[in-house]
Every structure is written in C-alpha cells, then in structure tokens.
C-alpha cells in the first residue's frame, strides 16, 4: 500500500497538477478565443527558462523565481497575441490554430537560440523524500507542486466566479459579439485571458522542470496530454481541465501498478496510451467532456 502511494499515486498527482495548470490555460484560451493554442507547451518551456535564468543569474531558489517567470510567461503571451493572433480575431478557429503552430516553431527555436539545447536543472543532487506518516513519504518538490497548484486553482476560482473580469470572460466565451454589444471591452478580456493562461503555463513549465529537468522540448512533450486533459474536462471549462489533468496524470501512473499478479497491469511504455484511452473512453461516454464544455 505504501509503495502504491509513494511510487504511483503521489507522482501521479504531481504530474496531474502540472497537466492541470497547463490545461487550464488551454481551456481558457479555448473559451475566449475559440482555438486550440498549439504554442502553449512552448509557453511553458519559456516560463521554465525564464525561471532558470533568474536562478542562474541571482542564485535564487526556483520558487523565488516563480512569480517573476509567471509574469514573464503572461507578458510573452500578451505580446504574441498582439503581434500574431490579433489579426485573426474574426477568422475561423482552425486558422488561428495553424498560426499558433507557427508561433510554436518560433518560440521553440528562439529558446534554443537563446538558452541553448543543453539539458539543465534548477538544482542538482539528491533529495530524499520527507516521511509523512507510517511508510508514506513525499518529496519536497511534490508537496510544493501540489500545494501551489491548489492555491492557484483556488485563486482562479475566485477570479472567474467573483471578479468582474471573470464574469466578462464568461460572457465573452459565450458570444463575443454580444459581449461587445453589452459594453464589455473584449480586447481587455483577451488580454486577461492571455495573462492568466500564460502565467499558469509558465508555472506548469517550471513545475515540470522541477519534477525532472529542463530542456527546450519540455513543454512540447506535454502538449498532447494537456490537450487531452482540457478536452476530458470539457472544452472551455477550466475546472474541468483541472479534473481532467489530475485524472490523466493519476490514471497513467496507477495503470502500471501490478493490480493483477506481479506484472504491471499495463506495460509502462503504454503510459501515454493510457492517457489517451481514458480520454477516448470518456468522450464516448460523455461526448462533451466531464463538465459539458463550451463556455466558462
């Protein structure tokens, strides 16, 4: 049991948190701008590298760098939106998806040019996990990742449900034209969407870097599970994305537990297949995701 929790469940939750943070941004962008943001993984990477620069330049802990990197990711997204996506506001979603594919290539190569392609780490060496109770142990990084994710999710919930901007986002996700007619400054809503989505993506990227290590493909490698999480939750449903991220993260780890006999139930090389299988099965059962997606 302890082994199950330590080696399967807790890492699964941590991964789930990373998925969730990234997927929330994808879901928000989807809700407001109606397209699947392909470059989201690379925004994650960018955030992770900004944090790395701060860690390397000032000797900070990565957690101290986190807020700044969040801001960096947020601002980068707003800048990208202005230069690339804005002309496509009234274009069909698929066009913007393709534009974001271009952005993805640009971002990734810019990161490769700026930071190189070497594999980096925020901190080196071995850190033993902290004993919690009994045989249950948890790595410090996992505690922090999970705690910060919960805090971010709570803040997001407050923002979306209680703030005026959150309400405006809901309206715009439903019908942008009508939102404009109602007096909502839609460009401001778009800006906030990118700020939040970009910030959360940066956080996800940094956590992914903390969890393993840093390289220019770190975000791209997570992109498909992120989309799976966002869809699983229901398109444009940030809460759904959180649940979706956690489900996928946990499912793919836990599926390799030797539930029957001594061998892993699913060969570990099929972990990603598990994520997709869960998603497809889910969609067959509930065609618009867990949370019946479409608007916030």
């Amino acid at each position: 049991m302890a082994e199950f929790i330590n080696l399967y469940l807790i890492p699964g939750i941590a991964i789930g948190c990373i998925y969730a943070l990234g997927a929330v941004g994808i879901s928000l962008v989807f809700a407001i701008l109606r397209f699947a943001h392909f470059a989201h993984g690379d925004v994650m990477t960018l955030g992770a590298y900004i944090a790395y620069s701060l860690v390397a330049a000032f000797g900070w802990s990565v957690y101290a760098a986190l807020p700044f990197a969040l801001l960096g990711g947020a601002i980068a997204c707003v800048a990208i939106d202005r230069t690339v996506y804005r002309p496509f506001r009234r274009a069909p979603g698929i066009i913007v998806v393709i534009a974001s594919f271009g952005v993805m290539l640009v971002l990734r190569s810019a990161i490769q040019l700026g930071w190189g392609v070497d594999v980096l780490a925020y901190e080196t060496g071995i850190r033993r996990p902290l004993p919690l109770f009994g045989d249950i142990r948890m790595a410090q990084k996992h505690i922090i990742i999970i705690a910060v994710s919960i805090a971010i999710a709570a803040a997001l919930h407050w923002f979306l449900s209680s703030s005026r901007m959150g309400k405006a986002m809901r309206a715009m996700s439903d019908d942008a034209d009508l939102a404009r007619v109602s007096g909502i400054d839609t460009e401001r809503v778009v800006r906030w969407t990118w700020l939040i989505g970009g910030g959360l993506a940066a956080a996800a990227g940094i956590f992914a870097g903390i969890n393993t290590k840093l390289h220019p493909g770190i975000g791209w490698d997570l992109l498909l599970p992120l989309f799976a999480a966002a869809i699983l939750g229901g398109i444009g449903r940030p809460y759904g994305a959180i649940v979706g991220g956690l489900s996928i993260g946990i499912a793919q780890e836990v599926a390799t537990y030797p539930w029957i006999g001594g061998d892993p139930l699913v060969p570990p090389a099929y972990k990603n297949a598990v994520a997709f299988f869960v998603m497809v099965a889910m969609l067959v059962w509930r065609p618009t995701g867990l949370f019946k997606g479409r608007v916030l």
């Binding site: 309400k167 109602s182 608007v295």
Partner: protein, 234 residues
C-alpha cells in the same frame, strides 16, 4: 437637439456596400421606426450606428459628439443600448447572468433594474436560473430586450424585438417601449410588425436597397397607400 444623428452612411460587409447613403435621426423622447423589405439594409444600418459595421462614408453623432467608428463598449458607456436581431442572448449563461451582463458597465444599479425587468417579463423571473439557450424563441427575445434595458440607456436600439413573440407579449413589449420612452429614453426600432410599431412611434423611415425611401411621421407613413401596399402587407 437630436440625440442620435446619422448622415449619409455608406458601408457594408467586406468590399460590398449595403448602405448607400442612409440618414437617421432620433430626438430625445422620440420613438422612431425603420421598416423595409427583407434585406433592405435595416439591420446593417443599426449595426453601423452601433459601430459594428465599418462606415466608408457619412458620420454618426450621439448626444452632440461624433461617435463614428467608436467601439461598442464606448457607445454603451455613453448611453446607447442595442439588441441585435439574431444571436441576442448569451445562450449558455442563465437568464439572470444575461441580465447582469447587460449591466456590466453599471453594476451598482443591477438589483434595482433587474427587478424592473422581472416586473416587465415575469416569466424571466421564473426562468432566472435556466440557461437562456434553453428558452423558447419568444422567451429569448424577452431576455434580449431585458439585457439591453439593464444598462439604463438613453437611446435604445431594437432590431425586431417582437419577432416571434406572442400577440400578448408583443403588446406588452410595445407598451414597455412606450413606458421606457416616457421615462426619457429615445427608441430606434426596426420592425416587421410595422403597423403595430408605427402605432406607437412618432416617426418612421422606410429603407429600400440601402437608401432612405420615405421618411415622415408615423401617421403619414401609415396613411400612405404605397407604403401600405409594399411594406405593411396591404
């Protein structure tokens, strides 16, 4: 002084001009109706007034200031309200949320004005928690009008507010329009229920192929046999 004054509006979608010089004036305290055949450009004219269709010629003044090309949110802030003909409710938001969105720029008055709207359309109070997309066609229309009223505008522009409403509700809507108007709000109305609309209006315009065809007092338009023949169903 005219509350709204548009002169020589020329514009349309993409490269094509739908409006070929449309003039519309609404005075404070006035109810003005636009009528015309389907596709005459009535909705386009409304959108142009509200900054939703780019104008290539002409100008729009509201309350003495030139508002040509201003974005809708600025117009709402200045006191214009608009109910589009199609897609005029937030389908996934509840009725209450729809109304709240109408008051986005004036959140303080939300509760008070919403009570008034519920007074006007009691069925909306019943359905307050239901997504607007699940309402019947007529109920949606009420939500749409209610939403626009929430901002307490000084000029209310309604594009076929009674389309699809039962006679009873249509009557109520026209009554309310009159009441709203009496409270000092200018009304600009596009209607196919033209006789009924002209009955409550002060003045009217007839548009044809993107141009002003007739203009005059409501009584004059109602009395004109040509207009009756071609636009009011004889």
């Amino acid at each position: 002084m005219a509350l709204l004054e548009a002169q020589g509006m020329v514009g349309g979608y993409g490269g094509m001009d739908i409006l070929n010089g449309v003039d519309i004036t609404v005075d404070t305290q006035e109810i003005v109706v636009i009528i015309g055949a389907n596709g005459a450009g009535k909705s386009t004219a409304m959108k142009a007034l509200f900054g939703l269709v780019a104008l290539r010629g002409g100008n729009v003044r509201f309350d003495g200031a030139d508002v040509t090309g201003l974005a809708p949110n600025h117009l709402v802030a200045r006191g214009m309200g608009y109910v589009p003909q199609e897609r005029n409710v937030f389908r996934n938001l509840t009725v209450r949320e729809n109304l709240e969105m109408g008051a986005f720029l004036k959140p303080a008055a939300t509760a008070r004005v919403m009570a008034q709207v519920f007074d006007l359309f009691p069925v909306l109070a019943e359905k307050a928690k239901q997504p607007a997309g699940e309402l019947s066609g007529g109920q949606r229309q009420m939500v749409a009008v209610g939403r626009a009223l929430m901002a307490e505008p000084r000029l209310l522009m309604l594009d076929e507010p009674t389309a699809g409403l039962s006679p009873l509700v249509m009557e109520q809507i026209f009554e309310r329009i009159v009441a709203v108007n009496r409270a000092g709000i200018g009304i600009l109305l596009v209607e196919q229920n033209a006789r009924q609309a002209l009955a409550i209006a002060h003045r009217g315009y007839v548009l044809a192929t993107g141009r002003n065809r007739f203009a005059g007092t409501a009584a004059a338009l109602l009395g004109n046999p040509d207009i009756g023949q071609s636009f009011l169903g004889g």
